[in-house]
């Protein structure tokens, strides 16, 4: 029996157990489309500044209940227009971080006031366009920061109010993962979709309230005290809301509010604030009633949401940004076998190791042994960490360091290109790296453009880099 026959007879005994058929996929794609719509709402809710109301109910008057949460006077907000677009409307908003006089709410209000006067016509933003900018701070992506001035102002506001800023976030696709991060299943019969979980335990998700007569969409948020979360909820002109205090079945007192088009559940726990935006109100034949809202409050076990336990969030530098190209469009991958995201990650680590003179890390990243040749023709073999330590400044000359620094867009993204099966950086091809024989990414060539220094893999394989002789 040949090796091929042996192989085939062995592996032909392995079978997939998944039950796949056209009907199952048709059902799956319908569910995915529905979750996608709600997930877009989650992006609006958890992404940056405003949780938009589905409608802006007219009516108002000062409400003792809801009034304690109002964030000052009316302001202009973008709200969905019901046709997939956004429109600016004058409206009130409530804080989701306790009453309006908490440090978190005051900081948020101050940030909003400052933003209203900064780049009001979006001239700066339009100038930047879609080009990657920054980083200006570790918090950029959680506060929609696109200039250093914004980063500085946000940090000052946070410091003035004694607050931290968010530095990490992860997506939890499975509600069970969220329950593991809290005290358990706090939702009861209600449903959660994808959740956004921040480094301090703040989280938000879209879901559905279990209700006789049909589920109702909700947006659920827990904001941890001590951190400024860039979120508030537009409620229109607040006074068509009836609001009242209610002690839920789990013993936690909550503020309930019900208007023609939305309902609200707000609570303050020892170390966090809970808010639920219910995307249905009293209007219509099947409108919500106060009893529905109270039943919803009773179905939750809010005691499981405190004390807050900070989750382990992976370093944001380890996560692939959503802007990476798909494999079939990834030019670097198509030419080198290395996905751009992986190449960028490797290069970020390499650049950091050079910057911090981490010789040990660099030794792992180079394809040793390598031959070092200086401008005056002197040759040295770099076979181990000690050799690299001795020759560090010769190899990582100012020219090489400049090539690394000047060709980076951000901390996470450099101007990499592919040629001859390798990934390159620098206008003169100063750095080349690729897949070594063991499948790991390693640097094969470091060379100055003026011919002053060159470090190349010894003997076999790559020598001068793919541009040699061009």
């Amino acid at each position: 029996m040949t090796n091929r026959e042996f192989y085939r007879r062995t592996f032909s005994q392995l079978h997939s157990s998944a039950e796949l058929n056209w009907e199952a996929f048709a059902c799956m794609t319908r569910r995915k489309a529905r979750r996608g719509t709600i997930r877009r709402a989650a992006v609006i809710a958890a992404g940056v500044a405003v949780l938009a109301a589905l409608s802006t109910a007219a009516v108002a008057t000062g409400l003792f209940g809801l009034g304690r949460f109002l964030m000052g006077e009316q302001a202009r907000f973008e709200v969905p227009d019901g046709n997939g677009g956004m429109v600016q409307e004058q409206s009130y908003a409530i804080t989701l971080q306790g009453y309006s006089d908490t440090p978190e709410s005051r900081a948020k209000a101050e940030w909003e006031r400052w933003l209203a006067g900064y780049d009001p016509d979006k001239a700066i933003l339009e100038c930047i366009g879609n080009e990657p900018v920054g980083p200006f701070s570790p918090y950029d992506s959680y506060y929609n920061i696109y200039t250093q001035e914004m980063a500085n102002e946000l940090e000052e506001i946070a410091e003035r109010h004694g607050l931290n800023l968010h530095t990490g976030m992860t997506l939890l696709e499975d509600p069970q993962e969220l329950f593991q991060e809290t005290g358990g299943d706090f939702l009861g019969p209600n449903t959660a979709y994808t959740a956004y979980l921040y480094e301090d335990g703040t989280f938000a998700f879209d879901g559905e309230m279990d209700r006789r007569g049909g589920d109702v969409s909700i947006q659920f948020m827990r904001c941890v005290k001590g951190t400024l979360t860039d979120v508030m909820l537009v409620v229109g002109e607040p006074s068509l809301f009836e609001s009242w205090e209610y002690r839920s079945a789990c013993g936690i007192p909550v503020t309930l509010a019900l208007g023609p088009h939305k309902g609200l559940l707000l609570a303050e726990l020892a170390d966090c604030y809970i808010s639920v935006n219910i995307l249905m109100g009293t209007e219509g034949e099947d409108g919500l009633t106060p009893a529905d809202l109270e039943a919803f409050a009773d179905s939750l076990d809010l005691t499981l949401l405190t004390p807050v336990k900070a989750p382990e969030i992976p370093d944001s530098a380890e996560e692939e940004p959503s802007s990476w190209p798909a494999p079939e469009e990834d030019a670097i991958y198509l030419q080198t076998g290395i996905q751009e995201a992986a190449a960028q990650r490797f290069f970020s680590q390499f650049a950091l190791a050079v910057e911090t003179r981490d010789v040990s890390a660099l030794a792992d990243m180079l394809c040793l042994p390598m031959e070092l040749e200086t401008g005056d023709g002197e040759r040295t073999t770099i076979a181990a960490e000690e050799d690299l330590y001795r020759c560090f400044d010769t190899i990582f000359s100012q020219q090489i360091v400049d090539a690394i620094q000047q060709n980076r867009y951000t901390r996470e993204r450099a101007d990499l290109y592919a040629h001859g099966g390798m990934v390159g950086l620098g206008t003169a091809g100063e750095i080349w790296f690729g897949l070594a024989e063991d499948g790991d990414i390693r640097v094969f060539t470091i060379q100055q453009g003026d011919g002053g220094m060159a470090l190349r893999r010894s003997a076999q394989g790559i020598s001068d880099g793919p541009w040699a002789g061009e």
Binding site: R4, R8, S17, L20, F25, L334, L435, D438
Partner: protein, 161 residues
């Protein structure tokens, strides 16, 4: 894709997709996830295929891409044997040994083995599919064969031409 065609493709190629994914992940659960994803992409594909072979090659390529997408780290090492999970049942003990030996190989070697020995692609076709050099395919095949030979001894013959 039309219902009959899709169900026929599932019937013909589900195990092929599973095998490729299993070689990539060395983990049946991850392989099953990949199977779901691959056939979902087939289900949502709007363009048709020129032939059965065209469909088969497309499925192989998409499976490889889907498996690669799930690998987040550039520093992924061999999957330790004890993390492979419960072993499937085989008719003969040497088949079980071959499975274990293959699953203990580095991931890039496993994939090349499956595409070469089971799917009967040439090294040139494998190189094009995986976007690597043909010499790299040959190197990985040689290395994998040597390791299988050392581990399986007489059960694995000398290199074929």
């Amino acid at each position: 894709m039309e219902r009959t065609q899709f169900n026929d493709a599932v019937h013909r190629y589900q195990d092929m997709v599973y095998r490729i994914a299993l070689h990539h992940h060395a983990n049946p659960a991850d392989a099953e996830d990949a199977v779901q994803e691959v056939f979902l992409r087939l289900f949502t594909r709007e363009k048709g295929f020129e032939s059965g072979e065209h469909l088969r090659r497309w499925l192989i390529r998409v499976t490889v891409n889907v498996c690669r997408d799930t690998l987040k780290s550039a520093w992924r090492r061999n999957v330790p044997l004890d993390s492979v999970g419960e072993l499937p049942a085989f008719e003969q003990p040497e088949q079980r040994e071959l499975y274990q030996a293959v699953m203990a190989l580095p991931e890039q070697d496993r994939t090349v083995l499956d595409l070469f020995y089971y799917e009967e692609l040439t090294t040139k076709e494998i190189a094009r599919l995986l976007h690597i050099r043909q010499t790299t395919v040959t190197t990985r095949l040689s290395r994998a064969r040597e390791r299988l030979k050392r581990q399986l001894k007489e059960a694995w013959q000398d290199d074929e031409s």
